[in-house]
Assembly symmetry: C2
Homo-oligomer: 496 residues x 2
């Protein structure tokens, strides 16, 4: 496949008596991937993790789990039920993230379909339809109809390129009619795609009335709702691990958990002659590790504040790349009221701050469920929510959710939990935000090692915010270390 991943998984070699020692900073997805691969190859690894558990931003919250937000520590109050959880970080996997998917297979992480787009879900925009929620399928069908009608006006007109023949024009007409479900007069007069007035099926079908084009145009959700499912990483088919995204973390931990030291806070990272020296603080006291290599996934902006002796041009990068702020709320709902609205998964959209509501597509027809009650990526909306107390955030999100599900939302909320990645301990931010200029100026430098020290993590990839990016950064570093170690052996006359 031309589009298969190009970062090769390293070969496995038996550990030599001169196994190299590697210290890995951060037990997130990049760190775990590196530890797993290096261990398989016989390297002697240790992972230092500042927080109370492995996974990094791959965080699934269940009953009793701690949310380590600075200033606002919370405990997740969901019922003790394996089906009730919030994927506070990554929550879905596209089919082309083959490295992650291959690890899922290898580590026994069971996968199921995940639903982004649901035509039965709601679109709610204060600026359109008097703020009333409209079914995604009505909104999209009417929009497609008008769009096809508009495009049809260009067919046969002088607008077509010379390359489009008469025959092409006829094909195009047929396509546009199909695209918009137009009448034989090439007009959009409504479509069963928008849903029927009744679905009784014992009497003739009746299609819904068409919404006015200018009314649809009022909604700026056009630019998101209708395009979202086209995105390279969001288009169907998407997947999720059964039981929560941290099944990936658990899969790795079953292999390398013994190498992980939690509550281990790094105090300094010093490059030494062919070595890296790391000092860290843990409940057992202050300790020093001198390793042959260091793989460092500490967020750039935090690493910049940890004493180090990096060259200036390398250290500069650490402060040059801002991080996004991402905010999620999960609500445990007493009843799966959305299923009574014919919604069994997917996303409702709103122009309100909470932006999206996600319904679980697992556990269909059970009593309770966890709804993602806010998914805000950056900007003023994130800030407005982050600065509230946890209780006030839930209240604000309930008020907004109630607009999408009038009369059903508030009364079903049992408990909620909020995760502002910008304020989470040892993280203080979400995915790195690389501008094209920064890529040009800084990426190659920070991707390359300085001495025997490598920065890794999704921050050192062209796909921040995705586990696949984190994994590839780790595999890239592992491959480079391996190449150097082999070359060194050859230089010493030892068989590689």
């Amino acid at each position: 496949m031309a589009d298969a991943h190009a970062v090769a998984r390293p070969d496995v070699a038996p550990p030599g008596k001169d196994a190299k020692r590697v210290v890995i900073l951060g037990a997130g997805i990049a760190g775990l991937t590196a530890a797993y691969e290096l261990s398989r190859k016989g390297y002697d690894c240790v992972l230092l993790e500042a927080s109370h558990g492995a996974g990094g931003r791959n965080l699934t919250l269940r009953h009793g789990d701690k949310v380590d937000e600075i200033g606002n520590p919370q405990t997740c109050q969901f019922d003790a039920d394996p089906d009730l959880y919030l994927n506070a970080g990554p929550a879905r996997i596209p089919g082309h993230h083959t490295t992650l998917l291959d690890y899922c297979k290898e580590l026994g992480v069971e996968l199921a379909p995940f639903i982004n787009e649901n035509r039965n879900a709601w679109v709610q925009d204060d600026a359109a339809f008097a703020g009333r929620p409209v079914r995604n399928r009505e909104y999209v069908t009417d929009a497609r109809g008008f769009l096809a009608e508009l495009a049809m006006k260009s067919v046969g007109a002088a607008h077509l390129d010379a390359a489009v023949t008469q025959e092409d024009g006829e094909r195009l007409t047929a396509f546009l009619r199909g695209f918009g479900d137009l009448s034989s007069a090439n007009k959009y007069v409504g479509s069963s795609r928008a849903g029927l007035v009744n679905v009784d099926y014992t009497m003739p079908e009746q299609i819904k009335s068409v919404r006015a084009f200018p009314e649809i145009l009022k909604s700026r959700l056009w630019q998101t709702v209708m395009q979202f499912g086209e995105g390279a990483d969001q288009a169907a088919m998407m997947m999720e691990p059964v039981g929560g995204m941290d099944k990936v973390v658990q899969g790795f931990m079953a292999k390398v958990g013994s190498l992980v030291r939690t509550h281990a806070r790094v105090e300094s990272v010093m490059l030494r002659q062919k070595k890296v020296e790391v000092i860290y603080n843990s409940p057992a006291g202050r300790e020093k590790i001198t390793a042959d290599f260091c793989l460092n996934s500490i967020p750039f902006q935090l690493m910049a504040g940890i004493p180090n002796n990096f060259p200036a041009e390398y250290a500069t990068v650490l402060t040059a790349i801002p991080r996004g702020s991402l905010f999620k709320i999960g609500f445990q709902m007493k009843e799966r009221f959305w299923e009574k609205e014919q919604i069994f998964g997917g996303i409702s959209w709103t122009t309100q701050d909470v932006t999206q509501l996600w319904y679980p597509c697992h556990g269909i027809h059970r009593q309770k469920g966890v709804v993602l009650g806010a998914y805000i990526y950056g900007g003023a909306a994130s800030e407005r929510f982050e600065r509230l107390t946890p209780a006030a955030r839930l209240e604000a999100a309930i008020e907004q959710g109630e607009k999408v599900h009038p009369g059903c939302y508030r009364k079903n909320v049992e408990t909620g939990v909020s995760v502002p990645w910008h304020r989470m301990n040892y993280m203080l931010g979400c995915a790195s935000e690389w501008s094209p200029e920064a890529r040009q100026q800084h990426f190659a430098r920070i991707q390359a090692p300085v001495g025997n020290h490598y920065m890794i993590g999704d921050q050192v990839s062209y796909h921040p915010g995705w586990q696949q990016g984190a994994m590839h950064s780790a595999l890239h570093a592992v491959a480079d270390i391996d190449k150097r170690v082999r070359a060194e052996k050859v230089a010493k006359g030892v068989s590689a």
Copy 2:
């Protein structure tokens, strides 16, 4: 909800000592629904089923199952593994089929998401791209790009209706740019939505080159692939029962299985004074049932050939409505080779006779899987396949599948099974095909009872081919019977 189903489930009443006897012909979804509801209300029901098992066209084939095709009996040779099955009849449920979904909940049928649309699946058309399979996402993204470019030419031109203001025009421009992922010059120059040349993420992204518009136009799959996911009954989110569609049948059978007599072939249906007399043949011999009511789901065209004393204007309808022919093949594949192609469910499309290939979205990452290797609905293609021997059908389908998955398809086929509904015993056809004229002329007559006899089944609905239609036809008849029985009691002075 305005679009909730209007056919009400009947109330439950304790059985009276004068319980009415009801004979139900056919233990498909309509018959089972009627038996379940009538039994709950205290009616004394018996179901006569001509074939060896209940379910009708709700047929899931597993290891050792019999395919009762006239002239071509087959036995399904799939491995004995609950994950390896073919839903030979209905295979998916949309979220607005609430009656069916409510029964799933009530009967303990677990549901999971089902995937129709997968942007990683293939589109293969001999008339375009030299017959090579193209990723759905490339095909769709390029088409959207060109479409948006075309529509853009109408914006600002004299084409816009007066109702569309300048401000609307700007919104429309923004929308079209988003829709097609156009450049700032409103041109389509490629998009990451089509997938990247590599997804390495350790190096800069590179988008794929744009396909020529006339080349895309050559493919008549435009009319299907790109519109399919918009259909009222096919748009995401769809669902399927975990373990096979016949879990619905099993759910009903757990409640009313004791009322079902299999191998019971109806020989005559006679209307008598306030009764219906049914004679049937079974392994135990010839038997007669005289019932207060008869609910009859025997396919119209078969019922027309069974002796009866229906009024001519009623009997006429039985021969007036043709039935569609639908053809499916299931292949057990030795390896889930499609997962190596980044496909984990959904549909590939081809202009070849087999029309569609479906990949299971359950059992991801397991060793084997069952692919739907042909899904042909009527026309010459169905006929071409139906007239072949079962072995020759598989061979033809393998040859066509190989064009979609060059080098991977044939070598992975372990065994296959074909189901031509047009030739299946006691069925001889798939969904009824009602023309608008036939609806006008015949539907009301056949939906209404003749004496105490009711025709039911998806054939007596505005939604043939879907279980929801079958269920509503049954509920409609049950409600009518109940109304009549209550009215009769009132007339007799008995408290209803």
